[in-house]
């Protein structure tokens, strides 16, 4: 093909005389560009570095926590976690009251939150009319993003007074014989912490449960319905049974969140390092003692004790969260979860 034939076949003819010459500069330019291997290498290297920073963060935290708590690790060893005396003045530190406070408040919050979260998830997934669903799920998602300190603020002024005046006396009257609900009743205490924690972890458990329930294929539900089951039976046998691994994961994730919750708990738990049977008595959690006493820790040993509690908290929440993620991933195949 000659050059002239080229031009006449370029549908309608190029408009400028330089157009035919423009062909070669374009090709020549592109041929001169090279293969960008260097740029590609630098780029992927940079991205890799940033991805590795995620690991670096974990390692950094671990290293700092361990080095900061060396003193008390060496002085007290493992018994640190079984001692119940918290006596900064005499340099005697035992973390048991805080472990007790964290564990009990978290379990309490699960006891309150899980049935409710499950109920909400069931409603939203299986019973809710579609037009209502998105606004309701939006609301529950909002609950999850309210900052802890705002929950605490609300709890102090709106939750505690009715607890102290109405709910707790009622519990003392009805359940006082168990020993779990006895005077004195300040409002602040383990029970209040459990309640506010329940409110805080509910959206997480609920939205994860919903995701897990939605991942159960339609075919399962239809198979059960086809056998003449009622809607509840279909939910129980066709959905919940299949999703139960993921639901357990969601609950464990909620537990993980409850274990580490700091501000709201600090504001309502009463901050007394004692192990008492009554849930209405003031208590203390691991995160709370750090929050309250860290900046006033007067000596190295004191600080080290607090950091060691932080280390324990870190390790426990990592394990709990990892376990939860594995369970949830197993059902939802690793899709990222929003709102947690």
């Amino acid at each position: 093909m000659s050059g002239e034939a080229n031009e006449s076949q370029t549908g309608g003819g190029s408009t400028t005389p330089g157009a035919e010459a423009a062909q070669s500069p374009v090709r020549a330019f592109l041929l001169s560009r090279g293969n960008s291997k260097l740029a590609d290498g630098v780029f992927s290297g940079l991205m890799l570095l940033c991805a590795l920073s995620i690991f670096a963060i974990v390692i950094l935290i671990l290293v700092e926590l361990i080095s900061g708590s060396k003193m008390t690790i060496q002085k007290f060893g493992l018994p640190f976690f079984f001692g119940s005396a918290w006596d900064p003045v005499n340099g005697n530190f035992g973390a048991l009251p805080f472990i007790y406070g964290t564990v009990v408040s978290s379990i309490l919050s699960l006891v309150i939150a899980v049935p409710l979260a499950l109920g909400v998830a069931i409603f939203l997934t299986e019973m809710c009319p579609p037009w209502l669903r998105s606004s309701l799920s939006f609301f529950t998602e909002l609950l999850a993003t309210i900052p802890s300190v705002v929950y605490g603020l609300w709890a102090i002024f709106v939750l505690i007074p009715p607890l102290r005046q109405y709910v707790n006396p009622f519990l003392i009257k009805i359940l006082g014989w168990t020993g779990f609900f006895v005077s004195p009743n300040y409002g602040f205490g383990m029970f209040a912490a459990g309640v506010i924690l329940a409110i805080m972890i509910l959206p997480i458990i609920s939205s994860l449960t919903r995701e897990v329930m939605s991942a159960v294929p339609r075919a399962q539900r239809e198979a059960v319905l086809a056998l003449g089951a009622t809607r509840w039976e279909m939910i129980r046998m066709g959905v919940l049974r299949n999703a139960r691994i993921g639901i357990v994961g969601a609950i464990i994730l909620g537990l993980g969140r409850a274990l580490g919750e700091t501000m709201a708990v600090t504001m309502v738990i009463g901050n007394r390092p004692e192990i008492v049977r009554s849930l209405l008595a003031p208590a203390y959690s691991m995160a709370s003692v750090i929050a309250n006493e860290f900046s006033e820790a007067s000596d190295q040993l004191y600080l080290s004790a607090l950091i060691e509690i932080g280390l324990a908290l870190f390790i426990v929440t990592i394990i709990v969260n990892a376990l939860a993620r594995v369970l949830v991933w197993a059902v939802t195949r690793g899709a990222p979860v929003r709102g947690t």
Partner: protein, 252 residues
Amino acid sequence: MGVGIDVSDLNAWYGANHTLQNISLKIPANHATALIGPSGCGKSTFVRCLNRMHETNPVGRVTGSVRVGDTDIYAQASPVEIRRRIGMVFQRPNPFPTMSIYDNVASGLRLNGFRNRKILDDVVERSLQQAALWDEVKVDLKKKSGASLSGGQQQRLCIARALAVDPEVMLMDEPASALDPVSTAKIEDLIFQLKSQYTIVIVTHNMQQAARVAENTGFFLNGKLVEFDATHKIFTNPTDKRTEDYITGRFG
């Protein structure tokens, strides 16, 4: 000007799946070559091996040699330069959604660093004319999004985008299969016009289309190249019985 493609002993895998087996053929320059065959026969995979797109799949693997002009495209480590010399149009139109029509066509040059505004304008206009889209979009080139066009227009936009980098070869993987008959006819006219300047390889499951636009046709079956010959011979007097069975509609 286009160049010829010389394929010899090409084998391709998707993971453990031996998708192409010992393919050898010579695609002539400045002609249109059609590749036909039933679904899953490997013709799309073959075409993607010609511009090293097959290896973008993490489990894709290729052995053998493909010479475009006098360059063995697999001899060098980086496929980027090869892909600038070989343009590709995909089955479903894929204009860049965040870019205007102008930006879409200019993207191959601009994003490779080309700055000269005047030449860019010329190239965009020329490419859109070659793709028979110029008259329809010349009014708000720079404001209208590439994704706001109709299906047939989008595909012609993609053709213009591929032409703008002045490739030597144009690969087309079932370019009209997602389009309506009118758009299909327009695309076929385009191929007719373009083939004198470029070497065109078009994958199609539409045998009439192959007969209309291509001088040569290759028939693929189960990963093998069964027959490759002048189009009129393939369709009127094929050598291999399997080709004849396919042409006459016994399968596929």
